[in-house]
């Protein structure tokens, strides 16, 4: 009897072992191994374990590399105020025992969904306190502030302070709420990457035009037609010249490299990053997978390029607002049409104001970014919506200040109700940071 029990025990143990080893080494998806759901930033790729756990038995440093692999560039652009290198000096050893600020995961622990706060933060919000406890004594203005209010009052951010640092506040103080309205240029960057000689395919050829009348008229009105990119520009397989029925990310990418890169880095396309770079292939995201509020009718729409940029007209105006509202149905999105920004957009669509002066969803969330490349003005559209989302202070400079003054922008972004109603009204919150900075300046 005893012997039988031992054998049964051994078999069960071996069985369990084989089951998990099979998952670890052979199964495509490893859902059984998930120790807890990940943050809103990463849930989309939580089943592509190797995107972060690049080695099965990697420690902190392996994970750190994984974080930086996707976020390093962004942190550099943000002129990160607390880069790892600030903490290497051994004189900080005692502070690192409280929070080891050299590692992302000290504050942003993953798979702890229940205790994850905004921005994927999993530490108590007193993280500023341990190093900056003296600030109350040093600055009169900071004397009575709550020790955990530094980062949520619209004043400071641990990483990105480009719009919040004191000298910037002083330099941009006393601006009117509305400056001159910017005129946003359209993207012109694809031609940098397009092959110099595109196979020309005469679509106006009567045979083709009559075989696909809708397609050819849509195409004729598109920027592709203007640029001379005809059917084969997208439908032709570059390697073997066979016909591609449904061109996808890789075809778009051959000219729209910047946009695909942004798209696959952000929440709309991160699932498809693996398809592009040849690692884990995941299905495209659908509204169904997300925690946000969406239109019922849109729940199973898969997100690719053509979801917003419908073939073959590639109407940028449609992509800039209608596409978004097709799916997104939270308060802020639903309030857009009746908002001041929304009415400007209607006016632009109606031709009542100059092109580029209306404000669409994309104007703020997927903005056109101007860059100087060897003396030519290159405009690309930042398709990584994370770059202009949260913490929302990071929108102040690239987006809000294109038209608005600094003080108004900071206040508006600190007013949750105003955000919900899509900036229909004036801020009812006032962040005193500029006032305090001026007071110190004029002392």
């Amino acid at each position: 009897m005893k012997k039988f029990l031992w054998i049964a025990w051994a078999l069960v143990t071996i069985g369990i072992g084989v089951y998990y080893l099979n998952i670890v080494f052979f199964e495509e998806t490893k859902e059984e191994l998930l120790i807890g759901h990940s943050t809103y930033g990463h849930y989309q790729i939580e089943l592509a374990c190797t995107s972060c756990h690049t080695e099965p038995f990697g420690g902190k440093d392996i994970l750190q590399d994984a974080c930086l692999n996707c976020h390093e560039e962004e942190l550099k652009l943000a002129l990160d105020s607390h880069p790892k290198k600030k903490f290497n000096d051994p004189r900080n050893a005692d502070l690192l025992e409280i929070i080891d600020a050299r590692y992302c995961i000290s504050c942003h622990t993953e798979h702890q969904h229940e205790q994850t706060l905004a921005m994927g933060l999993t530490v108590p919000s007193d993280y500023c306190f341990h190093c900056h406890v003296d600030i109350g004594e040093e600055r009169e203005s900071h004397q009575d502030l709550a020790f955990d209010s530094c980062a949520d009052a619209g004043c400071h951010n641990f990483h990105d302070n480009r719009a919040l640092y004191e000298a910037f506040l002083v330099k941009n103080a006393n601006q009117p709420w509305l400056n001159e309205i910017a005129k946003i240029s359209s993207a012109n960057n694809a031609k940098q990457y397009a092959r110099p000689s595109h196979p020309i395919f005469d679509i106006s050829h009567p045979e083709i035009a009559s075989a696909h009348p809708d397609i050819s008229s849509d195409w004729q009105a598109s920027a592709h037609a203007t640029a001379g990119v005809s059917c084969v520009g997208c439908h032709n397989n570059k390697e073997d010249s066979t016909w591609i029925d449904r061109p996808g990310l890789s075809e778009c990418q051959s000219c729209h490299r910047d946009e695909v890169e942004g798209f696959t880095s952000g929440k709309h396309g991160m699932r498809l990053a693996g398809t592009i770079n040849g690692t884990t292939v995941l299905p495209a995201i659908t509204p169904n997978d997300s925690h946000l509020t969406f239109q019922q009718s849109a729940l199973s729409i898969e997100h690719g390029c053509n979801t917003c940029h419908a073939a073959h007209n590639y109407d940028r105006k449609f992509a800039a607002t209608d596409s978004c509202l097709n799916c997104h149905a939270d308060e802020h999105s639903l309030a857009f049409t009746d908002s001041p920004h929304g009415s400007l957009w209607q006016k632009e669509l109606a031709g009542e104001i100059p092109a580029g002066t209306g404000v669409s969803c994309a104007t703020c969330h997927l903005p056109s970014i101007e860059q100087d490349k060897n003396g030519t003005k290159i405009v690309r559209v930042e398709h990584n919506q994370n770059m202009n989302l949260r913490p929302n202070e990071k929108m102040v400079r690239p987006v809000c200040m294109q038209c608005h003054g600094l003080a108004f922008s900071i206040d508006a972004l600190a007013d949750e109700n105003l955000i919900k109603n899509n900036f229909n009204g004036t801020p009812s919150v006032h962040v005193p940071s500029i006032d305090w900075a001026l007071k110190r300046e004029n002392r």
Partner: protein
């Protein structure tokens, strides 16, 4: 003759080898090492202040602007203290055989105030005894360090005027030639 040559060569290389071995086992005295490192730091720091900040900055040709957020200004250049820290951070990426930082009893940036006992004692000592350095040992985390503190002197009026006029400075009467702070160099032992 050939034999003699060979013997000499052999003996020579043996001496050379044992010389290497000896040097390795004894190592460079930490103090010799930190003194030498400080000499390089001081030379570079003085040169940056005099040859770049003073010469090209607002008090000179006025073509660069030394400001704290220099990355955000077209003509921006790192402040001497930031240049110094950039060096120390770059060094930390290459080696962990020593670290260094710039500190002061009257810091503009409060993170540059002394933190450890040795830092405090060292900064006070070099301020009270101009021209002298301070050496000690301390344990931080689970490592013991040889810690040396060297005076950081106002080598130019660029130093004093910027500090005296800065809104965060706790001291407004620095004079050229005075000790403004200290360079702390640490070697793990």
């Amino acid at each position: 003759m050939r034999k003699l040559l060979l013997t000499t060569l052999f003996a020579g290389s043996a001496v050379g080898l044992s010389g290497c071995g000896e040097e390795k086992s004894a190592g460079v005295e930490p103090k010799v090492m930190t003194d030498a490192l400080f000499a390089v730091m001081k030379a570079d720091r003085t040169n940056y202040t005099k040859l770049i900040v003073k010469r090209l900055g607002p008090k000179g040709a006025d073509v660069i602007t030394p400001v704290e957020h220099w990355q955000d200004v077209d003509t921006g250049a790192p402040l001497p203290a930031q240049m110094f820290r950039a060096g120390s951070e770059a060094v930390a990426e290459m080696t962990d055989s020593f670290t260094y930082s710039l500190q002061s009893l009257w810091p503009i940036n409060k993170q540059n105030a002394p933190k450890t006992e040795i830092e405090k004692a060292g900064l006070e000592y070099i301020a009270a005894n101009p021209g002298e350095n301070y050496y000690g040992e301390e344990k931080l985390g689970d490592t013991t360090y040889f810690t040396a503190v060297y005076p950081d002197v106002a080598v130019s009026d660029a130093c004093t005027s910027c500090h005296n006029e800065h809104k965060d400075t706790p001291k407004t009467d620095f004079k050229v030639g005075e000790v403004m702070g200290g360079v702390v160099v640490r070697v793990p032992i």
